[in-house]
Symmetry: D3
Subunit: 282 residues, 6 copies
């Protein structure tokens, strides 16, 4: 799945308004309006390059005379020193757009690279990596795209397109005498046929109840892998199972081997560090 | 320096539109419209709490009937388990706003906490921590505020409010036969009296030239601390000096002891991880 | 499932900007600023009242001093002459907001009423009424809400939250040598676990193929009820079935009795006529 | 009178944002990025085609590589089976834009066609068909254009560009001791020379009073045709007369023969059903 | 005629975003958040005060805790030293809003005062002062309101709400063999009954032709007053007449005495100087 | 320093929306869609032409088929009768854009011309002309650009990019026992290294105190030139000095000869009259 162009454009315009505002006073002061330049975006560390269409859109928004060449395919694993994009055209536009292009591409590449690290550890299991809603406000569409580019799978996009009855919903309902079964039934009755219903549980017993109540996916929260394996056996395919809660590169393999269908990792989007990419003028 | 309220409101509204969109279908399905609830935002790890006014604005935007109590002052260093905010009111609003409130406050607290770690290492030197423009597109105002809350100092906000003649400007000018001195002079001639002019240099010799040309601040890029000390002595107060380039918690003390006025750290905003904060229903 | 307040507010503000623009020159000319008034929104024909929260938001946006009383519950079947809302306050605000309030409430009530007519005919069958994406641009959230108020169920909201492989997708793929099975597989591989995959077919044979390929829902396009019954038997619960294509009040019962799960009716939103509601000053 | 291009663009962009949002996940999943296609928009029933420039703008907004050919002039009366537009280019863009293009063109053609049905019945009378403010919020500019395309004439656009003292204004004024004459005089004194003043009346006597007070147009509300003829004779050209109130295809001829200048029909915009147009891939 | 509140709010928000942006760094730095203050807006020169509702809206937008008292009615002729508004509340909000409040009120008062100067010279004639479309982009609604407050009358608001066939339209038509009569007829045929048609002419002969062709208003461009009197006699009430073209305070009386209905003065909005108003802290 | 293109585009689009709205009904009614035309923008009085890139953007926004030729350089001093821009293309677009193009260019040229008049009087002194924040809300970026084009220098852009501790800040602080020195210190402590701190004073004594407290610029408010000369001598270069307060063309030379660095003139932007420019069809 790719990325809608108008989503890219809206984010790029917002980012440029924030950074350029009433004008790049340095560049306008020191660089003549008619100066031309060529420059390369170069990887400073290894990783998965992500965000090339965004980088392209940055320069298109500033000045359509900037020509962008993309020698490397989006999503490639690339070595330090690799040129991932070349720009040529009005020098002012290149200098003015540099920071926004890098801020977006570095963040997206950081997320894609971290996702790829997790995905690599799942080899031979059926588990897939999921993202969460723990994304940067305003950039969710780009960040979920970066997860896909890194080999991950997207969970629901937001509150509007999937039902997830979480611990806090259940706690509140319990305090009002409403149990897990009724919660699932309420959800299924309210939504249409294209919406899936997931429930968060903390015990194998609740996973079983949720599956029988008709949940199509069950989130096993902070469960030890061994217990997850029990849940997998008990649910026996009546619902898909998602493992969640503080899973790291060192623990993910054991989780995957429990047999769950999905493993969600919030850190992919809330704590990935930017990948180091630079812009070198030729 | 504090944070303009309309800046908070615009970011919060954007974040809520992104996450809620046409509606929180889970909460509307399972929680009755008239249910009430109380819940606490609780630190799950130690750090500097930042973003409380943002958290408050999230719930005000969703439903003005949610009452928010803030028992802890913004910017406090707090221990795990501390309640940093309590909310009480319509249960739906609290559940719908939880994620956006956490996404913003966790990110801001992560930045403030990382900044505080750097600041703590400068004790006894005159150096101050600066942020950069390597911020999250759309969230720069919040992130630079978080740097201030963590004890850091803000560099220019964007391309429009300060002149920074960078390596790429100079490379391009050099290719056209224009040197450092003329670059600084062009900048000073173009801008008004309220704008400062900073130049990036890589050698002590260039630092001296820049200072004599009238730069009010000089960025020493990727210079070893010993060489920085030479630059400090050579410039002798004619301009302020900023150290920059891959400075980490392990190297910053030596840099500070070179006598520079400022040390800028891009990682504060491009790679701080989210601080773990949770929402517990009472 | 209810309706998110910020969705209402955005549509109401847009509608008021369109109709009031630089000012209601009639009311400002002839009605004194301090005049007060009371008026009732009255049904001029029988139907399902829908849009009361929207009507309330119209007056709140114009002047918070207008007091709105809602004596009748949203979604009630009401007789002609019934007062569905009373407003009291500044006369100018009431006169200025009248048309926008009516334009929205009449349209929403028209959709809810038409939906209710279809739903009434399904009694005793398991079929549910679905809406489509054939909605008024800009008002989809209100129109899909009106369908729910009328007793219908929502299909996907838009292109972003559900997969529907339609006839035109399949025609295009067929022309490139790609068949139904691969189409379904591509869709399932690309999306995450919270997204359902529906396929449109025209024959029982294709319905079977789609079900075996893993489609979770199958749209039977323009199929005679007898053939639909065959499809229901053949698919045997492996996927849900949706009947679609020119279904009217006179044909729907037969369609429902074929055993399909859902019947979608585009006319609910593209051709419902406005229900007649008036505003009478007291 | 035609249609301003920026009005089309704003509505089209809004409609695409609503329907595409974060992306057309079906098309991105199953159709390759480089697939090309050709398709025809075909009339499924007879009517007046309207909205061709809008349809063109939909595809231009999604992908400028889509080529649109318009073999039939906007406003033509066309038979079922007629190709009213052909599109050729990237298959994804055609599939993604299909629904929004149809939603707009079907609605506009429905309005133009209904208007043309009314206009056809006025042959030989001097009466002209007027629209009202009973339009779809957000789409008024398109809907009033469709009325023109169908042969109708536009009444004022909104509250800001024409004075219409309506029954509710007069009722409120009467309750405060202000009569029809003073109402008209207030209106004429407040507005500039480019604004016309219309008054709504229910009796011939009031029509006469309004004309003498200087109203330039008088709306005869729910008056029997015979009484309208009396009003026409009495007012004798001192003001233009508009008939209004529940006028249908079966009653309009009699109304027109009363000699009124205009007949306004709210149903043109609040209750026209969508004309059936389809998209067939070649 | 008054001023729609949502128009004020939109302009005020735009102005505050422009001036405050990411924050009033001076006030946040030197004034404590809890400081309170009182201050008066005081006339520094005589004139017509205009913009008080705007001034009120400025502070309401910044901080609802600022209390604004308006001792003087909008539109009053006031002497230097008069307090036209008092504000009391959070000191930061008052300091931050001062400039935007003054920028708007000074401009509006300047326009109202200049209009009043022209109006005063028309005493005893039937002529009324009109504004033009030569307004400040973005502020037209406020500026046309200021003209009304100064005693003037508004011409059409913009290109969309009145027909004015100008010299350039006619020149272009003439070059294509289309004359004045056909131009007027085209205009009348295209627009609805609520739109007036004005034509610009340079000779008495053309004024007559225009009147006979059915123009409802005729603009006499740059005509000497004596010739205007001839035009007034010749047209004899069949159309209203507007004098236009470089009319000043010294020439307006003679123009008015020619018997024209309206005199338009572009300088009211394109060249009024700001009236001097100050803010004094108590 | 030049003008960022996206700033021009945003203002031009806002201005066109305001003036064209739902359509230029005159031009659409009388001018055929396929008519072509050529026209020249001609100076009607001498002055500094400013706004040519804006004029170009107006026509580009309406119709890219309009070709604009600019024979004269932005900022030239030009005589009456000079053609400053030629446009050729679709007649409708030229007629529809004329007023917005003129409204912007006339205002900008008025500001540039007034600025040039002031600048001309400074010859041989070191003083430079500064603008203020007394600009037209919404147009500040264009107006400050016009000041630069006229030979002036920009003061801070807004409240966010420079510290100016004004009389009202100091009055309020004084009432709370905080003096000038602490005010300056608070400001310097709160802001980063790229922000300058200016203080407004009314006496030479306060100027000295401010300079010693570390203010980088001092505004001498309403001081007689002789007293300014004393201030210049006393401060002796420790801070830059700005003269402000009611300075006119007749008083500015004496002010400049006092030795101040800058003279700010609010009238440049709040009271410049529009320069007369016309559009003549060829």
């Amino acid at each position: 799945m790719n990325l809608a162009l108008h989503v890219i454009k809206e984010i790029v315009e917002m980012a440029l308004r924030e950074d350029i505002g009433t004008g790049d006073i340095t560049t306008m002061a020191v660089i003549p309006a008619n100066a031309e330049a060529s420059a390369n975006f170069v990887m400073r560390e290894p990783g998965v390059i992500c965000g090339l269409p965004v980088l392209q859109a940055v320069f298109a928004a500033i000045d359509p005379h900037v020509h962008v060449i993309l020698p490397i395919a989006e999503g490639s694993h690339v070595a330090p020193g690799t040129v991932v994009a070349s720009v040529r055209g009005p020098a002012r536009a290149i200098l003015t757009g540099e920071r926004v292009a890098l801020n977006l591409a570095q963040r997206m590449s950081g997320i894609a690279s971290m996702t790829a690290s997790y995905v690599a550890l799942l080899h031979g299991t059926k588990a897939r990596i999921l993202d969460t809603r723990k994304t940067t406000p305003g950039l969710r569409a780009l960040e979920k795209y970066a997860v896909r580019i890194g080999g991950g799978t997207n969970h629901r996009f937001a509150l509007y397109d999937g039902v997830m009855v979480k611990d806090n919903h259940l706690a509140l309902l319990a305090a009002n005498g409403v149990g897990l079964v009724e919660a699932v039934q309420r959800a299924k009755a309210a939504v249409g046929p294209m919406v899936r219903v997931e429930v968060e549980v903390e015990t194998v017993a609740d996973a079983l109840i949720a599956a029988e109540a008709g949940a199509t996916m069950i989130l096993l929260d902070n469960m030890p892998p061994a217990e997850m394996a029990v849940a997998v056996a008990a649910v026996a395919g009546r619902a898909e199972l998602e493992a969640s809660g503080g899973i790291t590169l060192s623990t993910i393999r054991a989780v995957a081997e429990s047999g769950v269908n999905y493993i969600s990792v919030g850190a992919l989007t809330h704590s990935a560090r930017a990948l180091d990419i630079g812009l070198d003028f030729v």
